[in-house]
């Protein structure tokens, strides 16, 4: 699967661009603010029906213009497919596949599988546990529909139980029977989710570690540990034990909503002891492993977008990563870089189809 032609009109800072792409490596080179990342965002948009950066569609229209248009010609299993998105200010966006408009945007998501690796990914290490749960849930629910349903159900039960705790506290009446009703349901759903998360990590970890070793050249050991209260005891026991405490705290202190993924380097937490480059290598490997899951699921190679990937990595890691993604395991790749020579030099000796584009003030020219 690959994108062969892309046309961008009035999208963010690109006024009008139309170019043909290589089915393997494409690099967009230029200074800060030139519009390199905008090109990647346009491709992201055609896959996910929204911008990676800005969810407010009207702000993705170029200043002082009335509309934007993105038009991509893809090849899927040898067939050509045109994906079109047009948005006029103050109107609903039109999303079309081969001239036919989608009724529901959700129907399009998954048609063009895509993984984006962006500088903001390091938030997965830096931020709270909910980011990591979301990351894990996002991958699992792509291949397991029942998982997402169970998760939504669990979250709703949790909200109801918390509301009941608040209610009981306000009235000063501790009532176990009505809490038990929620506890037993939370137990059933929570246990299912816990097992599925455990199963997921068992399959994901070796793929992830392999990518990390390839990028780092085996320089350090990294690990992901699934932390869950449910590993200690069945959820029902935990909820029963902590019921009185939950009542005083007015929220549910036990359950899979407290799960976390602990990222370690050596034996120590990545968050505190990893260098910038190690963190970048770590999240890049997380995404590449996600790529493998998506590839397996869709039975085609997702498009890979690498935004500003060279920012924090040393030369060895950059070279290792480029060698890795140019292998046949990966499909079409898009890379942005502010340095005009680095990427072309890296691929100089490899026999890889490569196209270079210079991006300047929102206009794009092939070198």
């Amino acid at each position: 699967m690959h994108l062969s032609e892309l046309s961008i009109v009035n999208f963010k800072n690109i006024q009008d661009a139309n170019f043909e792409l290589s089915e393997k490596v494409n690099c967009f080179l230029g200074n800060n603010g030139a519009g390199k990342t905008t090109v990647l965002d346009a491709i992201y948009y055609l896959s996910f029906c929204k911008s990676f950066f800005n969810p407010i569609d009207s702000q993705n229209i170029r200043h002082d213009e009335g509309y934007f248009v993105l038009d991509g010609k893809f090849f899927l299993d040898g067939e050509s497919e045109r994906i079109f998105c047009g948005l006029k200010r103050n109107e609903k966006k039109k999303f079309k596949r081969n001239q036919k408009q989608y009724d529901r945007l959700a129907d399009h998501i998954g048609v063009i599988p895509l993984v984006m690796i962006a500088p903001s990914d390091t938030a997965l290490i830096r931020e709270g546990s909910d980011m990591r749960r979301k990351f894990m849930d996002g991958i699992i629910s792509q291949y397991n529909k029942a998982y997402l349903d169970t998760l939504l159900h669990y979250n709703r039960l949790l909200a109801q139980r918390n509301a009941m705790l608040k209610h009981q506290w306000a009235e000063g009446k501790y009532d176990t029977t009505s809490l038990e009703v929620f506890d037993e349901q939370l137990h059933a759903h929570g246990t299912e989710l816990h097992l599925e998360r455990k199963r997921f990590l068992e399959g994901y970890l070796p793929i992830f570690s392999n990518f990390y070793q390839l990028i780092s050249g085996g320089a350090e050991e990294v690990n992901i540990v699934y932390q869950s209260q449910l590993s200690e005891a069945p959820l029902l026991n935990l909820l029963t034990e902590h019921r009185k405490r939950d009542y005083r705290a007015q929220y549910t202190t036990q359950g899979i909503h407290k799960d976390d993924l602990e990222f370690t380097i050596g034996e120590y937490p990545m968050k505190k002891f990893g260098s910038q480059g190690q963190k970048k290598s770590f999240v890049t490997s997380l995404r590449l492993a996600q790529f493998d899951y998506l590839k397996e699921l869709k039975q085609r190679k997702p498009i890979l977008l690498l935004d500003d990937i060279f920012d924090k990595l040393d030369d060895n890691r950059v070279a290792a990563l480029m060698k890795l993604v140019s292998e046949d395991h990966f499909g079409q790749i898009f890379i942005t870089d502010a340095n005009l020579h680095r990427v072309p030099d890296l691929f100089k000796d490899e026999n890889v189809p490569l196209k270079k584009f210079v991006v300047e003030k929102g206009s794009i020219d092939q070198l």
Binding site: A146, L157, S178
Partner: protein, 206 residues
């Protein structure tokens, strides 16, 4: 939309407070009232007053009733050994219109949803418990919506009624009658497989 009369404004805003009615529709209803024969409009108003003042609820099952006991509870042919628990009047009417049920009802008046401020105490549970304590009932059917709140409520009742040694049943869930399997959503079909039934004579009649 500013209205030129305070009287008009007041009526319009009352219509607007009804579910599914927006401001334009509310205005349309109000103007229609003014267009009516004066007598009809007054009868309309009087019936609302009478409804609110006089309509009562059955002291046994909490169904709406003109007297102390509703028509269903008072009916001599109804089987009082089976009680069907429903959320509200609409669900009761839906089950009545199937003509497949000859037992009596118990109207809870809602389902447990702490997020909406509704706990077990805000529903007609205690009267159900005291009905069962009388000892004539042999089976309770939970006919609550197939939502998380409905399930929670059924589960709560199940726990509360455990000690009564009464049969508790729940409505069957699965493929709708007359539906093609391929068009049934994954969740329903999955549940139908899990909750499959032994095939016997009863199934053939569907």
């Amino acid at each position: 939309m500013e209205l030129p009369s305070k009287l008009l404004e007041k009526t319009v805003s009352y219509f607007e407070s009804l579910p599914g009615v927006g401001r334009r529709t509310a205005l349309r209803y109000t103007l229609q009232l003014l267009k009516m024969q004066k007598e009809d409009a007054l009868n309309f108003g009087a019936s609302v007053i009478k409804l609110v003042e006089e309509l009562g609820f059955c002291s046994i099952c909490h169904n709406v009733s003109d007297g102390d006991i509703c028509q269903i509870c008072a009916h001599p042919k109804r089987d009082t050994e089976t009680i069907c628990v429903v959320e509200d009047l609409r669900d009761l009417l839906a089950i009545e219109s199937t003509s497949q049920y000859y037992g009596v009802y118990h109207v809870l008046g809602g389902v447990i949803s702490p997020l909406d401020g509704i706990g077990p105490k805000d529903l007609h549970f205690e009267s159900l418990v005291s009905r069962l304590a009388e000892g004539t009932c042999k089976e309770v059917i939970f006919a609550l919506p197939s939502t998380m709140e409905g399930d929670t409520t059924s589960f709560y009742m199940f726990k509360r009624l455990k000690d009564f040694n009464i049969k508790t049943t729940s409505l069957a869930r699965g493929v709708a009658v007359g539906n093609e399997l391929q068009y049934t959503d994954e969740l329903t079909l999955g549940r139908s497989i899990q909750g499959r039934l032994p095939y016997d004579n009863a199934m053939r009649t569907f």
